[in-house]
């Protein structure tokens, strides 16, 4: 089970150097079986002035899905608490 970051070859555009970075999760317990989850992680940008910064890539769809799920769990917990008091 490994987590690895891989960098894309840098792309130059209008003086900016853009390096997309991906993060992969590998779970290969036995050679003929495995799961690989590969996702965009961040973008490293080098400005024409030489400043380097990183922009994170946030998966909004997943974030909203997790929030809905956690909201549902919280609501069930509140309903249970109200039900016990009665």
């Amino acid at each position: 089970m490994t987590f690895e970051n891989h960098s894309h070859p840098p792309i130059r555009w209008h003086g900016y150097q853009i390096t997309p970075i991906a993060q992969s999760f590998r779970f290969i317990p036995a050679r003929p079986f495995g799961i690989i989850w590969n996702r965009p992680f961040s973008v490293q940008v080098e400005t024409p002035a030489g400043e380097i910064y990183r922009l994170p890539i946030i998966d909004r769809t997943r974030l909203i899905q997790i929030l809905i799920f956690l909201g549902g769990l919280a609501l069930v917990w509140i309903l249970k608490a109200i039900n016990r008091k009665r």
Binding site: I11, I58, L79, K80
Partner: protein
Amino acid sequence: MSNQQAETPQEADLSQSQENVVQSAVEFMQETMDQFMATADVNAVYGETIKHQGNLIIPAAEVVSIMGFGAGSGTGFNEDRNAGSGIGGGGGGKSFARPVAVIVAGEHGVEVKPVVDFTKIYLTAFTTLGFITAAWLRMRRGR
């Protein structure tokens, strides 16, 4: 008297064809495994760059790949004590890809614009709503 008897031409042909089948199965598995491992490559996540109206667009997607293989062989005897052998194998796999964001580079800088999949969000919302309703009904019955 030796237990091992000389192979007849038919048996030799059968043995050779079985070896060929095993060899081609191993090659196919190796090829599929290589394709599977390519999922972990950075190029699987970031697509081809697109130039549009002075901007550079790089699409980014999440890729999930699941794969499994299995193979086996065996020998046995039937009721008439005739020996036989067999080999078999199987496998399956699936790859999913979903757009996550686009990286837009222009004259004034680089931006990451998220891609929101509303269908997935609606499905999650309805599923969660179903669970909440089921839990609430169970609580009411339990009173």
